[in-house]
């Protein structure tokens, strides 16, 4: 089975004043299609840096990153933007929606940058919004939505381009437990439908939704293991609350 993500000996060094900080120190990871991976670690462990590199928001100081067998480690800003647009769907802790745009436009945005025509764009966006169960909120602005609804809009935005990986950074961090669970159930369903999901979190029971756990400490890989006691929901399909 081909790897979607192939990280080989990745290092990232930040210059902080006089000192060099090794945020990542020789990390190698392979992630296959349709895997469900949780990246864990305390703050300062380098998990945000790793997420930024996997999400093509940043490039490693050294090492090789191949995404779908394409070397993205030395790409320039604009090439990375294109990769992010086509291959990666981001879900952020703080949702990161455009406050002045309605749900439809927020979801449409990646398609605009991807150069998809207007008709096609509207169709795809509506489908993605329907997928997360927000069809009746399509013309609402983010500030007219609850936290869970906002996060579902951002999931719809991540899904709309049919990316290779869904990259979620603490997706439940700003939500209460019940709404958080609903969002996690949505991720579980998306995984069942064949999506590759990478979850960055420091919460153990959120990580339990995944199939594989990667734990970082001080920029190095500490643990990479399959999760045995997975959290399984009795009715994982009832997510459209």
């Amino acid at each position: 089975m081909p790897s979607i993500i192939q990280l080989t000996n990745i290092t990232k060094i930040y210059q902080v004043g006089e000192e060099k900080v090794h945020a990542l120190d020789g990390v190698s990871i392979q992630i296959q299609k349709n895997e469900y991976v949780a990246i864990m670690g305390p703050s300062g462990s380098g998990k945000s840096t790793l997420m930024n590199i996997i999400g093509c928001l940043d490039t490693p100081t050294s090492g090789l990153y191949e995404l779908n067998n394409i070397n993205v480690s030395d790409m320039n800003d604009n090439q990375l933007a294109k990769i992010r647009n086509k291959e990666i769907g981001f879900v952020f802790q703080t949702f990161n929606l455009l406050a002045r745009s309605d749900v439809l436009h927020n979801v449409e945005l990646p398609l605009i940058y991807g150069g998809v025509g207007s008709m096609e764009r509207k169709k795809l966006a509506r489908a993605a919004i329907e997928r997360v169960g927000l069809t009746d909120r399509i013309h609402h602005k983010p500030n007219e939505l609850s936290g869970g609804q906002r996060q579902r809009v951002s999931v719809a935005r991540a899904l709309v381009t049919h990316p290779s990986i869904l990259l979620a950074d603490e997706p439940t961090g700003n939500l209460d437990t019940k709404t958080g669970d609903e969002i996690m159930m949505l991720f579980d369903t998306l995984h069942k439908e064949g999506n590759t999901i990478i979850l960055v979190t420091h919460e153990e029971d959120i990580a339990l939704h995944a199939h594989r756990r990667i734990r970082l400490r001080d920029g190095k890989m500490e643990v990479d293991e399959p999760i045995k006691n997975r959290k399984v929901f009795t009715q994982p399909t009832i997510v459209m609350a």
Partner: protein, 410 residues
């Protein structure tokens, strides 16, 4: 192509949403551009008015007429004293041109002074009295409304007859037919033969209708010595023959004034073209200085736009981060902010024109002008350019933001 259009549409939507979201700030920022555009368009309108006034006046000189005089209409640098001491142009030279020239169609000597004109109880002060030959109508292109101009016989014989301008006619003969009436010019009696059509003014200074025309030989007897300086108008057969006529007239004049081959001309042959060239030089300088000074206010407005765009970029750092994260390339971010500043300036430009238009109508009352469409277009174009130029640095900075830092920005 379609992609570019969508991106443009998106940029436009963002720009106007941003402007709407900060109404007060946008209005204040735009004010600088409004003031700049108002002053530049009004300056442009005034310059245009000056040009039109000049062109209208200059047309009365006729493009196929030469004016022989002591003074040149062009710039005469430091030889003022030499020109001042030239011998006067005399009636003899007019006669010689008339006699020897083959190219000239009409030759007319002219001189002038100012006198009071009286008819009965009515007095018009300080009327321009023109002493002229019989070919005034041919050489000046003016027309007679009614009556007839004096004949060559009357001009040479110095009969006490005259033709009057429309303003003089209106002042002296409000309810009468002036033809055949006797008026007194500087105390001498003249019979009115004709009234001229209304002509307006020359360069907005001197009315061409407040004039009385008398035969030049009569003029020499009563108002001025026949040795005094004259102007000779020579009408060429056609505009194409003007240069030939000029050369021929020059030869005739040199002979008539007894110049030796190596002597310089001690007279000038002027034509409409000379005045146009002189005016263009002066007018160009006025326009350049005027537009430069008013352009300064536009420049200051542009700095205001640049300042506010920097604020806008900083405020929306996070939004830029989001857009970059989901795949907006640098170009798109650059375009977005350029369009915002261009839109701000364009709005300023439109408001500026709306304000400047009624003011230009006020200018129109003393300069024959209207805000030309070209000035409107140039003003709008300039305001867009100001927007793009002053928005470039902030937009460039936005486009170069690191998405990771931008997303983390609080």
């Amino acid at each position: 192509m379609k992609f570019v259009f969508d991106e443009f549409k998106e940029g436009m939507a963002i720009a106007f949403a941003a402007i709407r979201a900060n109404k007060m700030r946008s209005v204040l920022t735009t004010l600088g551009i409004v003031i700049g555009i108002v002053s530049v368009t009004l300056m442009g309108t005034a310059i245009e008015g000056l040009n039109r006034a000049f062109n209208k006046s200059i047309a009365s000189l006729g493009s196929d007429v030469l004016y022989v005089q002591k003074w040149s209409w062009a710039n005469h640098n430091d030889d003022w004293w030499i020109i001042k001491n030239r011998r006067n142009v005399r009636i003899k030279q007019a006669k010689d041109i008339e006699k020897y020239s083959e190219y000239a169609q009409a030759v007319n000597p002219v001189t002038g002074t100012r006198r009071n004109v009286i008819y009965g109880q009515k007095l018009v002060e300080n009327v321009t009295i023109i002493g002229t030959g019989a070919y005034w109508l041919e050489t000046s292109g003016s027309t007679v409304a009614f009556g007839r101009f004096f004949t060559p016989m009357e001009a040479d014989g110095g009969r006490p007859v005259c033709a009057i301008g429309s303003e003089v006619a209106a002042n002296l003969f409000p309810n009468e037919n002036p033809i055949g009436k006797n008026i007194k010019i500087g105390g001498y009696a003249y019979q009115v033969l004709s009234v001229f059509d209304k002509q307006g003014s020359f360069l907005g200074l001197e009315s061409l209708d407040n004039r009385v025309y008398v035969p030049i030989n009569r003029f020499f007897q009563e108002f001025m010595s026949h040795r005094s300086d004259l102007q000779i108008m020579v009408k060429a057969k056609s505009v194409e023959e003007l240069d030939n006529t000029k050369e021929e007239v020059r030869g005739i004049l040199r002979r008539s004034r007894g110049l030796k081959p190596k002597d310089q001309d001690d007279f000038a042959i002027n034509q409409q073209e000379t005045l146009i060239q002189t005016f263009n030089t002066i007018g160009g300088v006025i326009a350049a200085v005027g537009l430069f000074i008013t352009g300064m206010s536009l420049f200051v407005g542009g700095i205001g736009i640049m300042n506010i765009m920097f604020v806008s970029v900083t405020e929306r750092t996070r939004e830029i981060g989001i857009r970059k994260a989901i795949g907006a390339p640098r170009r798109t971010i650059l375009l977005q902010f350029l369009m915002e500043s261009a839109a701000l300036c364009l709005i300023g430009g439109i408001i500026g024109i709306i304000i400047a238009f009624p003011i230009s109508l006020i200018i129109d009352t003393f300069l024959p002008t209207a805000m030309p469409l070209s000035v409107v277009f140039i003003a709008l174009l300039v305001s867009i350019i100001v927007g793009v130029v002053s928005g470039f640095l902030p937009a460039y900075r936005a486009s170069r933001l690191d998405p990771v830092d931008a997303l983390r920005y609080e």
